[in-house]
């Protein structure tokens, strides 16, 4: 990826927990979520992050009826963060908590 500035936020959707209602798609101000094509194990088309543009605002998280379908991450500013501050680094997918 060739971006100069990383996105302020990052979104993970647990595909198997999602019911494909689309409320998060509607809620996201920068329109960074869409409904995917694949059916999940419940037979719903799960929402997916487009991969860019998330601001970490958390609006989709509160709009989503499922407890843990959505996790929103925010960029840690290394310049202001004390070294000891704990944060969860994210690589690839968040472990899937699903069924």
């Amino acid at each position: 990826m060739d971006k100069l500035k990383p996105d302020r936020g990052l979104l993970k959707i647990d595909e198997n927990e999602c019911k494909g209602c689309g409320l998060c798609v509607e809620a996201c101000p920068p329109r960074a979520i869409r409904i995917g094509d694949r059916l999940n194990h419940c037979g719903y088309r799960a929402a997916i992050y487009t991969g860019a543009g998330c601001t970490g605002c958390g609006i989709c998280f509160m709009a989503c009826p499922e407890p843990g379908a959505i996790t929103v991450f925010r960029l840690v500013d290394r310049r202001t963060l004390p070294v000891s501050d704990s944060h969860v680094p994210v690589e690839g997918a968040v472990p899937c908590a699903s069924n």
Binding site: C21, M62, A63, P65, P67, V88, A97
Partner: protein, 488 residues
């Protein structure tokens, strides 16, 4: 990775901790709710779970699930849970809050639950200003049962019971519960929010937290009504249902804060805190081991008194009077007292019984299922209640021979023909007072003056007072004899 940008992300919004990690009570799909896609209940659950997290009250929250689509709210919240009968959450919540003042009691109710079958309960709980929080999820329909009209159904809205749409002429106008309750003097906070768009959702999140926080601060009754989509019964796509809340429902049910007395209210002086862990066995009525006869029933000398008595016999044997004198004497002695008679046709014949509790601390429930002392005037009473007597407790049985099938290890038995004892004093009908005398001697918790006062309160005729006093004294003597024989 050196030099250049090294973006790391930290979790900003994730599954609230007040939810179970896995919904073990659900048979399948233990990471999803049972709600339909786009259901407002899921969103309200998340708001509530987050509020519980943020206020740090998970360990002392007791959630009351209703009847309706959210009947299984207790599948999800990792808090204390009670599931109430339809509409009764405010009454159940009242009982829980009063007996566990340190708990945070949250009633969760649908609009059918709260505004139809439960309209009386919510009205009176609000009017008493119970220090509880009520989350009222209004989706304008009975969803769980397939879409019948609710008191909150909009005019013109179709339902299975109003197939051509609700009309004011036939079904009346939609009930505005928040506005109705706002006419009362006691509530601290009553507001209506919606789930109709992002702005409304943000506002609803704040209101729900506020309503719980008010209780944490000890301020009093708070209710938040949430206009909530039910895509399935409304037969709409989830996003359309969400917009219907904002564009249509809100016209009938305007959003707003109808009561806010949070600034006027003073938290109560004595702060209510959860009891110490060490107190819990006593509160639950679990007694540690057999401490011998003298230490069986905690008395006012040895510490906290919590005496539970069940009295049972045939109508006319003075069962209820025995209980009444005991309870009156307790009140006279400054104790908390409850007397719960079982009324019915059996007052005249058949088995009659009453529950009595005397305690140093407020009494949570007047029911006595595991008595310290069972006063059984006859064999049917033994049959009915003998098995419930707690280990280390007593059965006082009116009969010379105790039926062997009711003997239980660890339960003291004093079987006597108390009717004959009473006869010897002057009247067989005083058997109940002889037995009360035994009980008083066992419990050793009440001053004689209080017993005398109670007797004068409950028994009007001087002839009987005199007889009953002698009967009580005879009972006391009987127990002492019994103990001496046991010790010898």
């Amino acid at each position: 990775m050196s030099g250049a940008v090294d973006p790391d992300y930290t979790v900003a919004h994730s599954r609230p901790k007040a939810f179970y990690e896995s919904f073990e009570r659900k048979e399948e799909l233990q990471h999803q709710t049972h709600y339909c896609p786009g259901c407002g209940h899921g969103i309200v659950h998340k708001m509530l779970a987050r509020a519980i997290d943020e206020l740090g009250v998970q360990d002392r929250t007791i959630l009351i699930s209703p009847v309706g689509c959210s009947v299984f709210a207790y599948y999800y919240f990792d808090v204390g849970n009670v599931q109430a009968a339809h509409g009764r959450a405010p009454a159940v919540g009242t009982g829980i809050k009063r007996s566990r003042p340190g708990s945070i009691v949250i009633g969760y109710q649908g609009d059918g639950d709260l505004s139809a079958i439960g309209s009386a309960e919510i009205l009176h709980a609000a009017n008493r200003g119970e220090n509880i929080t009520v989350i009222f999820v209004n989706n304008a329909i009975y969803s769980m049962t397939g879409g019948q009209m609710a008191p909150t159904t909009l005019l013109g809205q179709k339902s299975t019971t109003t197939p051509d749409g609700r009309t004011a002429e036939h079904e009346g106008h939609p009930l505005h519960m928040s506005e109705l309750l706002a006419t009362l003097g006691a509530p601290v906070y009553i507001g209506r929010v919606g789930l109709g768009d992002n702005r409304q959702i943000a506002q609803a999140t704040r209101a729900i937290k506020r309503a719980v926080e008010n209780q944490v601060r000890g301020l009093g009754f708070s209710l938040v009504e949430v206009l909530s989509p039910c895509p399935t019964i409304w037969k709409m796509q989830p996003v359309d249902a969400q917009h219907w809340v904002r564009d249509v429902m809100e016209k009938t049910f305007p959003l707003g804060v109808f009561v806010d007395r949070t600034n006027e209210m003073q938290p109560p002086a004595g702060t209510n805190t959860a009891p110490a862990i060490g107190e819990i066995p006593r509160i639950l009525g679990i007694c540690a081991g057999d401490a011998g006869l003298a230490g069986e029933i905690p008395t006012s000398q040895t510490g906290e008194l919590d005496l539970r008595v069940r009295v049972s016999g045939f109508g006319g044997q003075g069962v209820l009077l025995l209980g009444e004198v005991l309870a009156e004497a307790g009140m006279d002695a400054g104790l908390e007292a409850s007397w719960l008679p079982s009324y019915g046709p059996e007052i005249r014949s058949g088995t009659s019984n009453c529950h009595v509790r005397l305690a140093s601390s407020p009494i949570d429930s007047p029911l006595v299922m595991n008595p310290d002392v069972l006063v059984a005037m006859n064999e049917p009473s033994l049959k009915k209640f003998g098995a419930g007597v707690r280990s280390g407790g007593w059965i006082l049985y009116n009969g010379a021979m105790f039926p062997p099938e009711y003997v239980r290890e660890g339960v003291h038995i004093l079987a006597r023909d108390f009717t004959r004892e009473a006869d010897a004093i002057g009247d067989p009908r005083a058997a109940n007072m002889v037995m009360l005398g035994v009980l008083l001697e066992i419990a050793a918790a009440l001053p004689q003056a209080s017993i005398d006062a109670a007797l004068r309160q409950c028994v009007k005729q001087p002839k009987w007072i005199d007889l009953d006093e002698r009967a009580l004294a005879r009972g006391r003597a009987l127990l002492r004899e019994f103990m001496e024989r046991g010790a010898a």
